[in-house]
Amino acid sequence: MEHKDKQKQTFYVVGKRLDGLDEKAKVAGSVIYADDFTMERMLYAKVFRSTRASAKIKSIDTTAARSLPGVVTVITAEDVPNNRSVTGAVGQTAELGLVQTVQQLVLAEDRVRFYGEPIALVAAEDPDIAKAALKLIKIEYEDIPGVFDPEEAMKDDTPKVHGDNNIIAHWELRRGDIDKAFREADVIVENDYQTQFQEHAHLEPESGVAWIDDDGVLNLRVATQVIEQYREIAHILGIAESKVRIRGTLIGGGFGGKEDLTVEPYIALLSWKTGRPVKLTYEREEMMYGRHKRHPYKMRYKHGATKDGQLVAMEATLISDSGAYVYLSSWVLLYSTVHSTGPYYIPNVKVDSYSVLTNNIYTSAFRSFGAIQVAVACESQMDILARELKMDPAELRAKNYLKTGDKTGTGQRIDSEVLLTETQEAAVKALGDRSKPSAPYMKVGRGFASCWQSYGRMCYLHDTSSAWVGMELDGSAVVRCGIPDLGGGQRESLRQIAAELIGAPLERVHVISTDSQVTPLAGTVTATRALFMSGNAVKLAAEAIRHDLLQKASEMLGENPENLDMCDGEVFASRNRENKIPLAQVVKAIKSEGNPLEVLRTFRAPAAEPVTREILEGQIFPDFTFGSQAAEVEVNTLTGKVNVSKMVGAYDVGKAINPKRVEGQIEGGMAQGLGYALLEEFIEDKGIPQNVNLTTYILPTSKDVPDIQSIILESGSGKGPFGAKGIGEPAIVATAPAILNAIYDAVGVRIKKIPATPESVFYHLKERGERT
């Protein structure tokens, strides 16, 4: 019998800053990450990659490589049973609709389309031998013209990367009468913005080991955000899906970089062919030039407003660089299009977005998945507009923020609470007093930005997540859930939710996760969906158990179930804690009556019909997280260097399951956003990578990131467990525009192309004619 959902009043575990068991294991050094795992007779793999951006493969000769002592096998495309990927994108169960799906290739066939494209695989007894074997592979290329700029690639007479059209996706927003609205606007602001390739740079390289177990099942133990990829692997090998098992590891950072297939097809192929375990771990340089990046965007934005600051019109054109293969580009573009209005109500909207193939590095998922680029443009526009109107930027935004009940640019009704004004005030207030410049040539400035980001996958995917909870005789419990843990404490959240509802002490709840044949599938750890989906699934299962526990305990204690609560292994009367009974006793009583106290539940996200037209309409996402960030910078007018001296991020997360983990997400997201704004750019010159290690691709260090303050607001109005929303991606969205707005405040230059490197700021200052 299902438990009627009654909102819990008192929390003993959820909402507390409890220490996690996974964190304890990590600092003890006892967690076995993907590359830490070895097996007997294990082989080591390496990938042979293209050194051309656009070329035919005239010939490839692997004879010398095969003959090297210690090399066991070399594989090329002709050895792959199904070299073309079936699903255009990962984990998808519904058709994409309009979008042209260009298949991904496991290994290049007769042509390479980007520098770094995988062509062959080597497996050897020793990683050094495998590396030496790569050098012995002889390849003859014939260069063919490539295209490296997405705007160029849209034209008819440019080289085509696949098929006969480089435009692989086009989305639209249409609302109202845009021409009329602009005619009637008092103020119009129009600008072009540009963003760069960003690299995930998760500290743990992509890695995994594959082997065939004694049941004949191909096992992959791999750092992945998506264990459902076992289906893809089965298809590539031409074997049954039931014969592939993915065991995900605790991941050393992902950010979307471990969402598409990484090492899985390669270790699967090599292990299947050799019959031996095979390990593949990417080198850092290989990760830089061979793995996907965040989409660079070119954006033209035009806003119209009344003289008292009411937004009346917004028109935008977005062009994203899909690189050499589609992967998730069309979905990222969809996210950008939906989020392009910013968290504002705008009655007249016209947006056209395009994703275009080039011979650059392919682009795909990266934290925020398309919402971050448009925030750079939109929040800069709002700042510019405010100054045109001689209005306080805070006031202008507050006047136009979405409210509960408003409809977004797709006509989706916002049904959660919207605490944008509160987050804006909190963030700006927390900056405190303006710092004094540290020298006469330093200028201090402040800026802020508001943002929104969906949580949960697109509704038309009919997303689900399952979890199993079972009580042990001694009152301890096991939770089984497929959700992978990226390092953000996804698994620990499930532990806290289960412990809260079933009354077991936190350390007696064991969570076994991320095994496609042992744990119920919970879906991807992407799209800020982990807590929302798997948290709700665990909650459903644990509530069902809770119902049975309280029912039996009420008989044993002589109290109504509504007057009972549980915590720390005891069931007790809420009004009289002395009337109590050990949880274990209740469990034993229930089990002895033939109720195994094991529950499997599936949580279903709000669903919608598939997108069938280019115009995006209706409910696209389950819900959105709203927040604001503020920054203070000090600009060195002699060198152009921007030092961020203070940062604040304020978000309504609905309910913080563990506040210190929520803060960790906000702070980490902001640091990554700082890198995006000022330091990070992966550069290619006609498709040839220019910076392929961490000295030339600059990541923020502890000296680049200031003290960050994270502020949590809890409206309780989210669709996640206990009213929670998501925070993983929202945390990164507002940082770059907040910093850009602060730079303007400091030195009066508007940077519209990121990263705002010292060179860029310096030349902007020079152009403006002012150096001190």
Binding site: K26, Y33, H202, L203, E283, K660
Partner: protein
């Protein structure tokens, strides 16, 4: 496989345990440690840029990917699994309490750097902590809570 004549024997003390092995002259200390089961020492870049492989070599924090195993012959290496070091244990507890550890991949290196810092400078201010940490990249935490954790330990 390398010729036997190219291999040399090394003997390195790792966390109170003498470990011997045959290495090439080009084998890094990082590779030696991981091949001998000390997988708590992480490989993030293998070229000295990220700090994930940081260990103490005779008490000094170094990136083990830039040291050859032969250079460490006869010396003492400390990883986060070293027992009996109270300050190290306190740091680990603080990292958990202050949520300075998210994915945990940078933690073995970062905690060792912190251990070395507190040896050199028992009461560092936040700027000095950030300075010492600048060779340990973290992509998850934004460094805030790592600095908080180390500051807390230094104050107690």
């Amino acid at each position: 496989m390398a010729e036997r004549s190219e291999m040399r024997e090394v003997k390195i003390k790792v966390n109170d345990e003498w470990v011997t092995g045959l290495v090439k002259s080009s084998t890094t200390l990082l590779r030696f440690l991981r091949d001998n089961g000390f997988t708590e020492v992480k490989k993030g870049c293998d070229e000295g840029d990220c700090g994930a492989c940081t260990v103490l070599l005779d008490g000094k924090a170094i990136t083990s990917c830039l040291i050859l195993a032969l250079q460490a012959d006869g010396k003492e290496v400390t990883t986060i699994k070293k027992t009996g070091d109270q300050l190290l244990e306190t740091l680990k507890e603080a990292f958990v309490k202050y949520e300075a550890c998210q994915c945990g991949f940078c933690s073995p290196g970062t905690i060792i750097t912190a251990r070395w810092l507190l040896n050199e400078n028992p009461r560092p201010n936040r700027e000095e902590i950030r300075d010492a940490l600048s060779g340990n990249l973290c992509r998850c935490t934004g460094y805030q809570k790592i600095v908080d954790a180390i500051e807390h330990v230094s104050e107690t």
